[in-house]
């Protein structure tokens, strides 16, 4: 009789909703503040936000970020102000997704978004370059580098509101 009583518990659970998430087909939605892969952002006019200051690399506890800056000119402008990031690399296998780079960035150029499916068969593939990290310009907007009028984009850090 005890075995039947045990089986009754099993039978009771059969019609209930299944708890397993069928992962590759279905995904559990991430929380809003979840930190996944980094994205380099652009302004609405298509210029890059990153000014190559390397503050993210200095803040990184795992030394996962490598930034090399170069000078902007009005003939070849990537970002407002004097400099832009010529090389921007993040080693995804070093990165611990803490978000300190996000906090350190003066122009809010780097944002940790929700993509998290990062697995590699080769360690070299884990190094994400600038072309892989940067978001494409908004639709209809010209990308970078571009030629601009002299004297327009002199300020590297935009006017920003104080945090509330």
């Amino acid at each position: 009789m005890n075995i039947l009583r045990g089986l009754l518990t099993t039978v009771k659970h059969l019609p209930q909703e299944k708890v397993t998430i069928q992962y590759p087909e279905r995904e559990r939605p991430t929380r809003e503040r979840f930190k996944g892969r980094h994205h380099l952002k652009r302004y609405d006019n298509g210029l890059e936000k990153c000014i190559g200051c390397s503050l993210c690399a200095a803040a990184c506890p795992a030394d996962a970020i490598w930034v090399e800056a170069a000078e902007n000119t009005d003939e070849q402008r990537f970002s407002p102000g004097e400099r832009y990031a010529k090389t921007y690399e993040i080693n995804m296998l070093r990165c611990i997704f803490c978000g300190y780079c996000e906090d350190a960035c003066p122009t809010e150029a780097i944002v940790l978004e929700h993509d998290h499916q990062l697995s590699f068969t080769n360690r070299r593939d884990a190094i994400y370059t600038k072309t892989m990290l940067i978001d494409p310009p908004a639709e209809g907007m010209e990308g970078t580098p571009r030629q601009v009028e002299p004297g327009v984009y002199t300020r590297s850090i935009p006017e920003m509101q104080n945090p509330k």
Binding site: T20, Q22, L93, H116, Q117, L118, F120, R123
Partner: protein, 161 residues
Amino acid sequence: MGVTSKLGNLGVVTTTLEAAINWGRTNSMWPMLFGLACCAIEMMSSQASSYDASRFGMELMRPSPRQSDLMIVAGRVTRKMAPVLRQLYDQMPSPKWVVSMGDCASCGGIFNNYAIVQGVDEIVPVDVYVAGCPPRPEQLIHGLMTLHEKIKSERIVDWAK
């Protein structure tokens, strides 16, 4: 070499055999319990009911290396643990695979110091690296999917080596 020369011209037969064996290998892959740190908690979670790795034939974690095909190195490996890891890997029967789960196992992560091995690929051949600190169970399963794809692309010629 012998296998290649004997089976080289049997195109249809060997591709079907490859597909069948690779299917068998991917769908009954028992992982070895090798939790070393916080990644082990996520590894347990990927085995539990929400994510349920047994959907992919990973029915149970084997504590014995003799009964396992896949070593999931979950966590930072200290220099003192390194010989143990190598010995357990050597005790696993072929064919065997290694997944390096998380930043610490893959390249030392934030522990860039004398006590931690800077990546388990210094001691064992790693097939898949999973990024994350620690990776979500979904990320680990994504890594296992990457490994499945890698195994499915293996050719009979490579087994002979």
